[in-house]
Each structure stands twice: as C-alpha cells, then as structure tokens.
C-alpha cells in the first residue's frame, strides 16, 4: 500500500490569531510608569523661635474624619478649592507683587511669597480625599505658574519643566533652569502640613 502523506494543516489563519492577540494586548496593557505627587517633608529639628505669621497670610484647609472640607472656616466643596486657593495666592494685598492679578484685598494674603497654605487632616480622613486636596492645591500653584510663564516666556511652566527633563530637547538648559527657578521664586510652593 502506498504511503500517504499526512494532510497539511492549513495554518493560514494562524497569523490572524496572532494579530488578534497582539491587538488585544496592545489595547489592554498599560505601560505603567510610576507617577505621583512629589512632596518634601519638613525636617524634624524644630527651631524654638516662633515665627510670627499674620493670620491673613495663612489659608487654612481642614479635612475632617468624614472627608468634609473646611476652608478658612467655611464649608467648601472640593471643586471650589482650586479657585479659592488661586484667589488667595494671587491676591497681592500689599501691592509689592507687580505680576499678581488678584483683587488686592487687604484682608487676604500680602503677596505670593508670604502666602502659606496650611493643611490639616484627622487620623480618620481617607487617603483618597487627602490626595484630592493635595492635587487641587498643587493645581492652583501650577495654574498661577503657567500663567506667569506664559506671560513672561511665552510657554507654560509645565512645558518648561518637561523640556528640562527631556534629554532629547534641543536648547539651552542652563537658561531654561534659570527661567524655571525664577517662576518658582515668584510663586513659591508654601504648603505646610499640621501634624
């Protein structure tokens, strides 16, 4: 009896399956890169001398154990926090801040350098809410810095920071760093946390 070759399996659709898999994974994978909000903790050695800060230069944010927000002794929704913080930081009450666009309300902060945001939370506050509040406050600073950078250098602050980190960016990094630092001095991030 003649030997019969085994019939070849048609593998033509295999490529389709492979592509299907490829597309599936392409859609589902998230290239997770660690990201988050950078913060710096205050050093532990406390100086004994009390620094006197005027009440009007402090923007108090209180988070209670039911995740409610008390801003400057008033209940507030999370979505209003950013605007309130911007208003406070950009107030420029003593007139020394030439680039501020605030209302120059004498009852609010003197200038961005003196303005301090104080954040206090309870032990039972949820971490999600805490991060939301942190995020809104950082966002407030970023909005002001972006605006200032746009007016001064024609590009946003976030863009400048991104370029500074980007190794492929063509341009003078020393100058860029100077610009970034200038903006950082004009709107310093003064966020203190009460323990």
């Amino acid at each position: 009896m003649a030997k019969r070759a085994a019939p070849e399996v048609n593998a033509g659709s295999m490529a389709d399956i492979a592509f299907l898999l490829l597309i599936f994974f392409l859609v589902t994978t998230t290239m997770e890169k660690d990201s988050g909000i950078n913060r710096k903790l205050p050093p532990i050695e406390e100086s004994d001398e009390e620094v006197i800060i005027k009440q009007k230069n402090i923007f108090t944010v209180l988070l209670n154990n039911r995740d409610q927000l008390l801003v400057e002794d008033e209940l507030m929704e999370l979505k209003d926090l950013k605007t309130a913080a911007i208003e406070f930081l950009d107030n420029g009450g003593d007139g020394s801040c030439t680039y501020c666009n605030g209302k120059r309300n004498p009852k609010s902060s003197d200038n961005p350098d003196k303005a301090i945001i104080s954040l206090k939370n309870e032990r039972k506050t949820s971490y999600g809410m805490y991060i939301s509040v942190q995020n809104e406050l950082v966002a407030a600073y970023n909005v002001l810095r972006n605006k200032r950078a746009q007016a001064q250098f024609g590009t946003s602050f976030i863009e400048m920071q991104k370029n500074y980190k980007d190794v492929n960016w063509i341009g003078n990094k020393v100058k860029l760093k100077e610009k970034i630092d200038q903006i950082k001095i004009e709107y310093p991030q003064k966020l203190s946390e009460v323990q």
Binding site: A15, A18, D34, I37, K40, P42, R123, T125, S126
Partner: protein, 158 residues
C-alpha cells in the same frame, strides 16, 4: 507530448506561513521590552488614587517603595482587616521603617543617597492616620523626599 499540462483541478494553494514566527517573535520582544516586572508581591490591596497633577518618577533604582493598605483576601485571617504597611515582601510595623530605609541606603552608592525618593503607594481607602505615622517616621530618619503615588486621572474618581 504537450508542453502545457492541464492544471490540476480545484484545491487552494497552500499559504506561506513562513512569516508566522516573525509575528510571534515580534509579540514576544514587544512584551519583553514593555512589561515591568513587579518587584514585590503585594499582600495588601493597593488601589492608587487618581490625581491630575502627577509627575513621573525618573530613575527607578533610586526609589524606595512603601505600600500601605488593607491585607488582601488571602491574608485577612492572619493579619486582620486594618490597613498595614508592607516593606519588601512582608507586612511590617511603623517602627520597622527606620531599618528598612537604612538597609536601602546601605545598598546604594554614597553619592546617590541624597537623591533617594520614597514612594508611598497607599490604597485610597486607607486612613490618613497610618500615613501620618509613616511620614513622621520618615522625617525621623531624614528621608524627606517623598512621592504620593497616584494615577493620572480626575480627582472626582477618588
């Protein structure tokens, strides 16, 4: 003798599948390059909060991770349901953080130590109490640069 043989009737010509291994290898290489290996097996629940103002963490080798969250299902019996701290592969107490940071520092070159960042990967349902304790402990060991790990997204999802 005819020069032109009559074509054998019917039957599809076999498709050349020589490129199939290429495709599979492409897949393989793609995932080999793109996937990040988890360094620690998580014993806790770890749903990160979302935030819109996140910055990326560069230089992976200079990051120390502290995980905080409720023990996951398999460990509930053993460790209870209160939020716990995970360092490397074990659930630890707040007091162990000092040793952990010092061990991490000992691993690094001396000139790298000032650039070390502690990444706090905290479950969004955890309480601030434990996070505050950890922060206080980090201040004590002078590890002041921290990063609250968060996913880029809208805060309304928290």
């Amino acid at each position: 003798m005819s020069k032109f043989k009559k074509k054998k009737g019917g039957g599809l010509p076999a498709i050349n599948t020589a490129s199939l291994p290429d495709i599979v290898f492409m897949l393989l290489f793609f995932f080999m390059v793109a996937t990040v290996m988890r360094e620690n097996t998580l014993m806790i629940e770890n749903k990160l909060p979302s935030a819109s103002e996140v910055e990326k963490l560069e230089k992976k080798n200079l990051v120390m991770y502290i995980y905080i969250g409720k023990p996951s299902r398999n460990y509930k019996k053993k460790y209870g349901t209160e939020a716990r701290i995970q360092l490397n592969d074990n659930l630890r107490e707040v007091s162990d953080i000092r040793a952990f940071i010092e061990a991490e520092r000992a691993d690094k070159r001396e000139e790298e130590i000032p650039y070390l960042i502690t990444s706090l990967k905290v479950d969004k349902d955890a309480n601030m109490g434990i996070v505050g304790d950890v922060k206080q402990e980090l201040r004590k060991v002078n590890a002041l640069k921290i990063n609250y790990a968060a996913i880029k997204g809208d805060v309304s999802r928290n």
